[in-house]
Subunit: 373 residues, 2 copies
C-alpha cells in the first residue's frame, strides 16, 4: 500500500539550494535519494550515472527495500558485469517527482508539514537532470565517465548531453526517444485518467486518508504494461491459453493466462508506487521533446555535445519507442559532428528487452563503457 | 447517460423460443432489435445481413436515435452506394448482449422485472449469430445473398459461414480475425477492469440507481480507441500539437490535442453505450476462436462452407487485427476448397479504416456483393 511505501527510509541528501524548473516555478530545496555501487577513484573520473525508467528507482543493483526483489538492473550492474562496479563508481538517483525518497508529490509542504500532493510543481525530464547535477555537485563529481539509461532513463541521458555536455564523456541511450509521440501521450493519458477517475484519488490528497487510488493505478499499470511487451512476445508467452483449470468459466474471472498476468502486474505495482508520482512522471515524459526549444530542430539541441561519444540501441520489437526514433536522434547527432554509433538489436520482448536477458545488449553496454577508459 | 439510453424505443421482435448458448445456459426467449433498408424481392433472394462491430448498432444507414448522428456505415449502405439498397434488402440487427434493444444485461428478469445485470449469461460470437438466424427465420428469409461485417462484424460473418454455411451465398470479412490474440484480450481486460474498478459499477446493478460507471467506461473507451488508430495516423492527425492556447500549462489539463480528443471520445461514448454491455461483448470477442472446437485446426471450422464465396479485406496500418490474421483465414478457406479472395488495402487510419473514406474499399464491397447477382 502507498502508506507503507512512504515509511521506507532511503539514503538521501537535502540540498538547500533553489532548483529553478522549466515551468517557471522554483523548488526552494530538493531532497535526492540515491544509491552508489563500486568505489570512486582518486581523480574522481570513474563515475557512471545510471538513469532509471518511469517506474524504476535508485535500487539498480541492490534489493528493493519494499519488495525485497533484486535491483531492477542487477543483471547489468555489479562486479564483473557489463557496468562493472570493480571499475566504475555507479550512481543511481531516484528521479525528481518520484516516490522513493526524492522530492515529489508526497513531499511535505515546508509550511504546513502536509504532503504537497498536486501542489507539487509539474516537472520535466530536464528538471530531473538538473536535480541529478545538483547531487553530483554535492558529491564533488564534476564530470561523468558515462550517463546510461533505458526508456525514460534514455531521455534523461539525452537531456544530460543537451544540458550539461561538458559534464559527460559518453552517453548510452537504450530503447528511447528524443520526444514523446502522439501515441505515447495517448497511452499515458489513459493511465492518468484511470487514476484521476478513482474516487480514492481525492484530488491527490489521499496520503493522510486510509484510502489510496490503487484500483485506478492498477488499471493505469495494466494499460502501460501492454505497451512494454511485443504482440509476438505476448502470443509466445500466453497465446490464448486458459488458466490451470483449462476450461472457460463463461464469467468475468481471469480465464486467460494473459488476464491473470496483467491483473497481477497491476496489483503488485500499487504496493511499490505512488499514484501521484505516476501522474507527475508520465506528464514529464509527455512534455519531453528535445527539439521543442529549438523550433523543432533536434540537431540544435546537441550543438554543444559534439565531444560526447554516443551509443544508441533500439530493439526490433519495441513499438513504444521504435527504431525510427533512435535513428532520428543519430541523424541529429551526426549532423552536428558528434560520434554516434547505433545498433538495432533483435529481441522478442518488445520495449522491456532493455531489462531482460539479451546477451548482445550486455556486450554493447560493456563495450560502450569500456571504450577509452 | 445510461439511464436515458435505455429509454430509447427500438424496432424489434421478441421471439418466444429458447436460445441455447455456448455456455450451456439457455435464454428462454430473445428480443432482437433491428433495422432494414431497401425492399425484399419476391423470391426473397436479395437479403444482405450487415453485422456490426463492438460498439456499433443496428442503425447502419439511418440516424442514431440517441445521438442524432448519421448511421455508422451510411457512406457504404444506401441507394446507389456500395451496398446498394436499390438492389438489396439490407438487415442489421443489434447483437445479443448489447444495449440498443436486443436482449442483454439491461434486459429485465422475467420473474422480478429488475434488470438482469451480471445475471445475464455470458454469450459468444456464435450465440450472436444464432440470435440473428432466429430473426431471419422470423422474417422468413431462408438464405442470404451475403453476410458483411468489419471488425467484430467480420467475426460474426466468419461464424455465420462456420455455423450456417447453407444460409449464405457470400461472406465479406473486413479488418477482422478468426480468433482474439493475447494482445487483443489484454486490451479488453484493461477496459473491463477500468469499468469494474469504478465504484459506480455496483457489481453491475447500477440501472436503478442514479449512478452509472461512466468514468470507468470512458477510460475503457480511451484505451480501446488508441488501438483503433495507427501510430502514423495519430501523428499525422495530432502530432505533439498543443491546444488552442499553444502553451504548456504545466498542469494536468488536456494540454495536447490528442489528450482532449481521447477525453472527448471517452465521455461521448458513455452517452450511447452501456457499461455492462461493454463487458459482455468484449468477453464474447475474447472467447472467439473458430478453431477452438476443432483442436486448433481452423480449416475444419469451414469444412461445410466450400460453396460460400469469401472476400477478405485487411488494412496495412491495422495493428489490432493485422493482415497476417486475414491471411490465416484465407489459407484455411483455400485448404477446404472454398473460393476466397483476399486484398490488403493501404489506408492511413489503422483499424478504423473500414469505417472511413477508403474508396478502394467501396469498390471492393460493391464488387463482392455484385458478383453473381
Amino acid at each position: 500500500m502507498a502508506s507503507l511505501l512512504h515509511q521506507i527510509q532511503h539514503q538521501g541528501v537535502t540540498i538547500n539550494a533553489t532548483l529553478p524548473l522549466d515551468s517557471g516555478q522554483v523548488l526552494p530545496s530538493v531532497t535526492i535519494a540515491w544509491q552508489s555501487y563500486g568505489a570512486l577513484n582518486a581523480d574522481r573520473s570513474n563515475a557512471v550515472l545510471v538513469c532509471h525508467a518511469l517506474t524504476g528507482d535508485q535500487y539498480v543493483a541492490s534489493d528493493h527495500p519494499g519488495t525485497g526483489k533484486p535491483g531492477w538492473w542487477a543483471r547489468m550492474v555489479g562486479p564483473g558485469k557489463p557496468i562493472d562496479t570493480d571499475r566504475f563508481h555507479v550512481i543511481c538517483a531516484n528521479v525528481l517527482g518520484s516516490c522513493m525518497g526524492t522530492s515529489g508529490p508526497a513531499t511535505p509542504d515546508a509550511a504546513t508539514g502536509a504532503p504537497l500532493g498536486m501542489a507539487f510543481p509539474v516537472i520535466t525530464i530536464t528538471d530531473m537532470v538538473r536535480a541529478q547535477a545538483m547531487l553530483l555537485d554535492h558529491l564533488g563529481i564534476a564530470r561523468l565517465h558515462a550517463v546510461v539509461g533505458g526508456s525514460m532513463g534514455g531521455m534523461q541521458t539525452l537531456a544530460w548531453a543537451a544540458t550539461y555536455p561538458e559534464r559527460l564523456a559518453s552517453a548510452l541511450v537504450i530503447a528511447s526517444a528524443a520526444r514523446h509521440s502522439a501515441q505515447n501521450i495517448a497511452f499515458h493519458e489513459v493511465g492518468r485518467q484511470a487514476i484521476m477517475a478513482d474516487p480514492d484519488w481525492q484530488d491527490g490528497q489521499y496520503y493522510g486518508s486510509a484510502r489510496a487510488p490503487t484500483k485506478g493505478l492498477a488499471v493505469a499499470r495494466m494499460a502501460a504494461h501492454i505497451t512494454y511487451l511485443s504482440e509476438e512476445g505476448l502470443t509466445e508467452k500466453f497465446g490464448r491459453r486458459l488458466q490451470a483449470r483449462d476450461i472457460k468459466s463463461f464469467g468475468f474471472d481471469a480465464d486467460f493466462q494473459v488476464e491473470s498476468y496483467l491483473r497481477h502486474q497491476g496489483l503488485a505495482f500499487t504496493d511499490r508506487f505512488d499514484a501521484n508520482a505516476y501522474l507527475y512522471i508520465t506528464r514529464a515524459m509527455d512534455y519531453f521533446d528535445l527539439a521543442d526549444p529549438h523550433d523543432g530542430r533536434l540537431a540544435a539541441a546537441f550543438a554543444g555535445a559534439r565531444d560526447v561519444r554516443f551509443t544508441l540501441v533500439s530493439f526490433d520489437t519495441d513499438w513504444l519507442y521504435p527504431t525510427s526514433e533512435s535513428r532520428r536522434v543519430v541523424q541529429a547527432l551526426q549532423s552536428v559532428g558528434a560520434a554516434a554509433s547505433f545498433v538495432e538489436l533483435s529481441a522478442p520482448f518488445g520495449h522491456d528487452s532493455f531489462l531482460l536477458d539479451v546477451p548482445a545488449l550486455d556486450r554493447l553496454v560493456a563495450g560502450a563503457l569500456g571504450a577509452g577508459f
